[in-house]
């Protein structure tokens, strides 16, 4: 048995394709990106070494700070919303709708499979105000709530909220499904025992179900961190970073810096900072789990 499992040739054969492709097209490019952060200009044309200048520039860059805050808003509202509301909906499904749970799950997961471009295009029509009222505004009109009618995606005070909410709508299903699976795996006898002991439903949820859900919760938080910090499609297609710079998240800022302003070094720097941020946050969360788990 051991010999079979130690078959070096087989191991090589199994690992090589994935490792090769991954190293060549993911790992190596990432190293190159980090390498680029110490340069400025256009590769192959006028790249020059500038040391840590790009990183210094970051500290003084007002635009970077603004984009950072915008990304944080998205992270908290949408990322946080995904986890908290995802859990809430999963709980609702578990305790409120046992009979149609499959149908419900199917419908709730539906927005997840829609392409981001399509969702953004769809919602830009839903939120439209001129030349004709889109779905939301015409419904407001119908209900006699004209004072709320406005250009939702063109107004700097509401634009970012729209991006957050639409992506929230789109992503909740993903986390709900994961949480629901975790919930289903909670042994019912524990709950029964607690109930017999006189605990109310909410207490049962708080004291028994949630703690048992911790591994799943951690996984969802990690996924939410990654997906929310990487956001790109929605703010680009729905509002194109505007109005002004109110929806310019870090990824958009990075893309525009590198590809429109010819500052590849600085653009790579922003990307690397974002990468570090993701790593730090996810590591922190996973360490937190490992501390009281096991």
């Amino acid at each position: 048995m051991e010999k079979v499992l130690r078959d070096k040739k087989a191991i090589l054969l199994f690992m090589l394709p994935a490792v090769l492709v991954y190293t060549a097209f993911v790992f190596f490019p990432m190293c190159q990106s980090i390498y680029f952060t110490f340069f400025e200009g256009t590769p192959n044309v006028d790249f020059e070494f500038v040391g840590l200048q790009n990183y210094a520039k970051l500290f003084h860059d007002v635009n970077f700070k603004e984009s950072f805050l915008t990304t944080m808003q998205y992270f908290l509202v949408t990322g946080g919303g995904w986890v908290i509301l995802g859990l809430a909906v999963a709980l609702m499904l578990q305790y409120g709708m046992k009979r149609f749970s499959n149908l419900s799950r199917t419908i709730i997961y539906l927005p997840v499979v829609i392409p981001g471009v399509a969702a953004a295009a769809l919602f830009s029509k839903v939120l439209e105000v001129t030349p004709t009222y889109g779905l939301v505004n015409s419904l407001l009109d119908l209900l006699g709530l004209e004072q709320f009618i406005r250009g939702w995606t063109g107004d700097s005070s509401t634009a970012m909220w729209m991006v957050c909410l639409v992506d929230l709508w789109k992503g909740i299903g993903y986390y709900t499904v994961i949480f629901y699976a975790g919930l289903v795996n909670v042994p019912t006898d524990l709950e029964e025992a607690a109930r017999i002991d006189g605990a109310g439903r909410l207490t049962v949820i708080r004291k028994i179900v949630l703690p048992l859900l911790k591994p799943v919760t951690v996984m969802c938080v990690v996924l939410a961190i990654m997906n929310s910090l990487k956001v790109y499609d929605m703010p680009v297609v729905l509002t194109d970073g505007g109005p002004g710079r109110t929806t310019t998240v870090l990824s958009i800022y990075m893309y525009k810096t590198a590809f429109t302003k010819w500052q590849y070094g600085y653009g790579s720097t922003i990307a690397v900072v974002l990468l570090i941020l993701i790593l730090v946050l996810t590591q922190a969360v996973m360490r937190f789990e490992r501390k009281d788990g096991k």
């Binding site: 048995m1 079979v4 499992l5 054969l13 199994f14 690992m15 394709p17 994935a18 490792v19 492709v21 991954y22 060549a24 097209f25 993911v26 790992f27 490019p29 990432m30 190159q32 990106s33 680029f36 590769p43 909906v89 609702m92 499904l93 409120g96 709708m97 419900s104 199917t106 419908i107 709730i108 997961y109 539906l110 927005p111 499979v113 829609i114 392409p115 981001g116 471009v117 399509a118 295009a121 830009s124 029509k125 839903v126 779905l135 015409s138 499904v177 994961i178 629901y180 975790g182 591994p215 799943v216 910090l229 990487k230 499609d233 680009v236 297609v237 590198a258 974002l274 990468l275 996810t282």
Partner: protein
């Protein structure tokens, strides 16, 4: 009292389902509206089935070409993604060698890397290998960026594959390859479906990568074509615009509706065990 609580929950859930479904249904209905109907309030039902929107969309957005390209790229990629990830995940979880743990972390780390960090270096690389602006180049990029996540999910599945079954097989005289093909794969079909579906959705829906690496009209993918079509005519021809969006959404939707039990089960299983 409990009944009331139940009722409230049901009610909230129904509202949620409506919020989830209504925009999509509205999209579908609107794609059948004639141009003139859009002046009327948006929530009205279409007056008839104006199929012309779809034919206009097909001819002007070149939906045929876009579809063909996207199907080729997506299907080829998911096959290789699954194949490469499955073999690697198997080697890392079931086989015994010194670097297995390191390899696990090495590949899983890729999940955290955002796509745009890699854009420029990948572009330069594709250019050197003359794969730029080609479907093959896209396939290579998609395969490499989808591997980490698939790999991670599959390791979760394989970990729960009982070793005893493998031992029994070996004792019956199977070599490692037969073990893999005849045992590991059939027992992890759930995982395979999950991984394939996840990769399919990510690749089919992708915008950033397909936009950056392919420039010519003949090799464009669906989402990029959709984005430029909307930009071009989105404000004028609402009907065809909605039809195009529908066309871009339907395949994933259909696939999802057909396989949804398996997918959700797979996703859940992977999440819980992983």
């Amino acid at each position: 009292m409990a009944k009331l609580g139940r009722g409230v929950l049901k009610f909230l859930l129904v509202i949620l389902l409506v919020i989830d479904l209504y925009p999509i249904i509205w999209l579908l209905l609107s794609s059948f509206k004639k141009e003139a109907e859009f002046i009327k309030p948006m929530y009205m039902l279409p007056e008839g089935l104006h199929w012309q929107n779809y034919s206009v969309a097909i001819s002007q957005a070149h939906l045929g070409t876009l579809f063909k390209n996207t199907v080729i790229v997506t299907c080829t990629s998911i096959v290789f993604v699954w194949l490469f990830s499955a073999t690697a995940a198997f080697a890392v979880t079931k086989m015994k060698w010194r670097w297995s743990k390191m390899m696990l972390h090495y590949i899983t780390m890729g999940m955290f890397i955002p796509a745009f960090v890699l854009l420029l270096p990948q572009f330069l690389l594709l250019q050197k290998t003359h794969l730029l602006n080609s479907l093959a180049g896209l396939i290579v990029i998609f395969i490499s960026t989808s591997i980490p996540m698939s790999f991670y999910l599959l390791t979760g599945f394989y970990k729960y594959l009982p070793d005893e079954i493998l031992e029994a097989a070996v004792m019956d005289g199977c070599d490692i390859y037969r073990c893999f093909v005849k045992i590991a794969i059939p027992l992890s079909l759930n995982g395979a479906v999950t991984v394939i579906m996840l990769a399919f959705v990510n690749i089919w829906n992708d915008l950033l990568i397909s936009q950056t690496f392919v420039s010519s009209n003949t090799n464009k993918l669906l989402q990029v074509g959709l984005a430029s079509f909307i930009d071009d005519r989105g404000n004028r021809d609402w009907g065809p615009t909605f039809a195009t969006i529908c066309a871009a959404v339907l395949p994933t939707l259909a696939l999802y509706l057909v396989l949804n039990r398996k997918i959700i089960d797979g996703l859940s299983a992977g999440a819980v065990k992983g």
